[in-house]
Amino acid sequence: MMRFFEDIRVGDKVTIGSHVFLAEEIMTFARQYDPQPFHIDEKLGETSHFGALVASGWHTAALWMRKTVDYRKREADAMRRRGEPVPVIGPSPGFKDMRWLKPVFAGDTIAYTTEAIETRVSKTRPEWGLVRLLNSGTNQRGVQVISFISTAFIERRDKTPL
């Protein structure tokens, strides 16, 4: 979410973009980062319990990040064009509850969304707000394939400690 901390409300939800997972890209990612048979070869995918080549869950997650970076850049550019200040978004300390709910097959299009589910001001670094985000990816048949909960540091307009 490309807003100052004060402008984010629990329940705010945005569609950040979508990605088509092609077989070649699935195999290229997996050969480097997750070379299990069902991720690196179409034939081995067919004989696996998945029944076809499937994307590494880490690949599906990495594309959420890419779509988020692209989304923030588009939003920031639009804010600059309107002459508005652009909030700084800090690094994330991690995530929890990653669920790879259904396989992502070659040719699937995954649409990603992000929803704010909790907001609070950082006690130790009051210039930042902490926002918990529920992130999700859904395929072209409307079936959810991934969800996880991440935390983002987002700049406050008002930097005073609570």
């Binding site: 480097q32 070379p35 299990q36 880490w58 990040m65 994330s92 991690g94 790879w100």
Partner: protein, 153 residues
């Protein structure tokens, strides 16, 4: 043929692997494709960020850890994939030139009543750099085939 099955992983079992050298080129190549934020692409932008220098994307860290888990034991195991991760903590950035070691500690194991062919091995995975600093933790269940499906456990 798989060497390791569910039965080979018992609580407390620890597997260590590494070191693996991380290069500047791979940090930038991953970031360019999957996480093109300045602190993952450029030294100076990294110095001006909370990372305090060029650091790998957290998602790259996950990929690095996954690959090390594969090379440590998973490619020799009767893996049925993993449907979830409980938690990942990015504690310190991974830097160019880091030599990372992996430690996997089995927390608990259980069989499935509805799917007697598989067992679930809950593992805590930790990455350390050459200074012994803890850089990342992941806690996740791994699904593995059983040698003896449905046997009492």
């Amino acid at each position: 043929m798989a060497k390791f099955y569910y039965e080979d992983f018992t609580p407390g079992k620890t597997i260590e692997y590494g070191p693996r050298l991380i290069t500047r080129e791979e940090i930038i190549a991953f970031a360019a494709q999957y996480d093109p934020q300045p602190m993952h692409l450029d030294e100076e932008a990294g110095r001006n960020s909370l990372l305090g220098g060029l650091g790998a994307s957290g998602w790259h860290s996950c990929g690095i850890m996954m690959r090390m888990i594969c090379d440590a034991f998973l490619l020799d195991a009767a893996s049925l994939g993993a449907g979830s991760v409980d938690e990942v903590q990015w504690l310190r950035p991974i830097r160019p030139g880091d030599r990372l070691t992996l430690r996997c500690i089995v927390l608990e194991t259980r069989t499935s009543r509805s799917r007697p062919e598989l067992g679930i091995v809950h593992t805590r995975h930790e990455l350390y750099n050459a200074h012994g600093e803890h850089v990342m933790t992941m806690v996740a269940p791994q699904m593995l085939r059983r040698r003896n499906p449905g046997a009492p456990s």
